[in-house]
């Protein structure tokens, strides 16, 4: 263990906002797991399954697929977890593994099929434009809106979808997302910007309506 510590490479790419300065709440469990305690791994699975599942559900849009890919993600984590050396928070590492699992799944589906699906989804979104203005005061997102948002998310290219899901739904910082996706922070920012703009256009019927309702 000591030898392992001594062999740690200097931290590369540590950015402000990765939470590296704070003590990682998973540190002890990770250390126990890496020392061979499988109970500790089970505890880590229980602790992180929710965020992995959420991310994958947002990315893939289908509960069964989300669970399947979540299982793959944790399988990969179990296999390659010894590579984690504490350069970032463990939760960031978990997101990274989950993100890769999602991207691999998408690649397997094939680009052409995905384009077709996206087209169909857009078509469907166009068919279901709401006719009546909705209540702008309502705080909770209704069932229909939720579906629309999910549809709009799925219509984004995944290079834009992943950063915006991590930022606006999962609440990661730019720095953490850069860490997860191995991108420069500036790239992350610009992708989030483009994703939000695309979502705004995709969700125009909803967001414009609200606008009308609020100004009247």
């Amino acid at each position: 263990m000591n030898q392992e510590l001594a062999e740690r490479r200097p931290l590369v790419g540590t950015r402000p906002g990765t939470g590296h300065d704070v003590v990682d709440p998973d540190r002890d469990l990770v250390a126990r797991w890496q020392a061979g305690d499988e109970e500790a791994f089970a505890a880590l699975v229980r602790r992180h399954q929710g965020r992995v599942y959420r991310l994958l559900l947002r990315m893939l849009g289908n509960p069964e697929e989300a669970e399947d890919v979540a299982q793959e993600a944790f399988l990969n984590l179990h296999r390659h977890g010894h590579r984690f050396r504490g350069e970032s928070r463990f939760s960031t590492f978990v997101y990274r593994v989950a993100a890769n699992a999602a991207l691999n799944r998408r690649r397997a589906l094939g680009r052409r099929r995905e384009r077709m699906e996206r087209l169909e989804r857009r078509q469907a979104a166009g068919d279901e434009l709401p006719e009546a203005p909705r209540d702008p005061e309502s705080a909770a997102v209704g069932e229909e809106e939720r579906e629309e948002v999910q549809r709009a998310l799925l219509a984004l290219p995944e290079t834009l979808r992943m950063p915006v899901v991590l930022y606006d739904i999962e609440g990661l910082s730019y720095g953490e997302i850069a860490e997860v996706l191995k991108l420069a922070e500036g790239t992350v920012k610009s992708r989030i910007h483009r994703a939000r703009q695309a979502l705004r256009k995709e969700l125009a019927p909803f967001v414009r309506e609200e606008q009308r309702g609020a100004s009247s």
């Binding site: 061979g36 305690d37 499988e38 109970e39 791994f41 089970a42 699975v45 229980r46 399954q49 929710g50 599942y53 959420r54 559900l57 509960p63 669970e67 979540a70 299982q71 944790f74 399988l75 179990h78 296999r79 705080a139 909770a140 997102v141 809106e145 939720r146 948002v149 915006v164 606006d168 739904i169 920012k189 989030i192 910007h193 939000r196 703009q197 979502l199 705004r200 969700l203 125009a204 909803f206 967001v207 414009r208 609200e210 606008q211 609020a214």
Partner: protein, 281 residues
């Protein structure tokens, strides 16, 4: 500032990460420019929709299914690797190994007087003595601590009345080196037999051991399995287990077994058990 430059700052403005000067620039522009204001309102509403999406709960037993799949997948892949490596290695064929395991199990459980002579514990072959002697201390610990093997260690006929009842116990109490080796062999054999016949029960007992003892115990069981050419059988036995609470112990054992896959199997120290002969000379 142009409209497009203002609009490029909408994200950071929304996130509250814009510095004060820029912030007031954006705000004064928004107060004057209706089209930018409209676009900003749309963007804010979009982001709000994302923020207000509720968190879907994962299925209730997702964690358990994840752990089960890991156990299953890693187990079967390891088994595949194992078969690949053992193919062509001139070892006792699997069927014979299984037979040996059965014999060993019997040997570990039945009173010696009832065994055919060739299956009774014998003095270890000289080649294995060093390793055996080195392990004696650990066995004595196990025997003394009432460890895994104890209930299964055969009692010596007529030894019920006084003193330690197992050979390991007698070795502990100051028996000869030969007795100690035989005791070790007996204990290891009975542990392997137990693990092969009831891997869950074995694992439950190992779980109860202090953590520092556990690795030691599993390591020696794996050594014994290698020596007895029972590694594939033991791995098959543990892959069949589905008990979540002993999963970590079995995985640890599996790691021990896999770590030995590259090593040549040592000569079995009880030759006659591996290749039964008709009659002693």
């Amino acid at each position: 500032m142009t409209h497009s430059r203002i609009r490029r700052r909408f994200d950071t403005y929304l996130d509250g990460t814009l510095d004060t000067a820029e912030r007031s620039r954006v705000e004064s522009h928004l107060a004057e420019c209706a089209s930018c204001h409209a676009e900003f309102a749309e963007l804010r509403r979009t982001v709000e929709l994302l923020h207000r999406l509720d968190d879907p709960e994962p299925p209730p037993d997702l964690a358990e299914r994840i752990l089960a799949r890991i156990a299953e997948q890693e187990g079967s892949e390891a088994a595949g690797r194992l078969e690949g490596r053992w193919r062509g290695v001139p070892v006792v064929p699997l069927a014979l190994a299984a037979g040996v395991a059965g014999l060993v199990w019997v040997a570990g459980n039945a009173p010696e007087a009832l065994l055919p002579e060739e299956l009774r514990p014998v003095t270890p072959a000289p080649a294995a003595r060093t390793g055996l002697a080195a392990s004696r201390e650990g066995v004595a610990r196990e025997a003394g601590a009432g460890g895994v093997g104890d209930p299964r260690v055969p009692r010596l006929p007529g030894a019920a009345s006084a003193g330690p009842q197992t050979m390991a116990g007698r070795a502990l109490a100051g028996g000869s080196a030969e007795e100690g080796d035989a005791a070790l062999e007996e204990l290891l054999t009975s542990q392997l037999a137990r693990a092969l016949s009831d891997v869950d029960g074995y694992a439950v007992e190992v779980v109860a051991l202090p953590a520092s003892e556990r690795g030691h115990r599993l390591g020696r069981l794996a050594d014994e399995a290698l020596r007895r050419r029972a590694v594939p059988d033991l791995r098959r036995a543990l892959l069949r287990s589905r008990r979540a609470e002993t999963l970590h112990v079995l995985r640890e054992l599996d790691r021990e077994l896999r770590a030995r896959m590259d090593q040549p199997a040592p000569r079995p120290y009880r030759q006659r058990a591996a290749v039964p002969v008709a009659a002693p000379r």
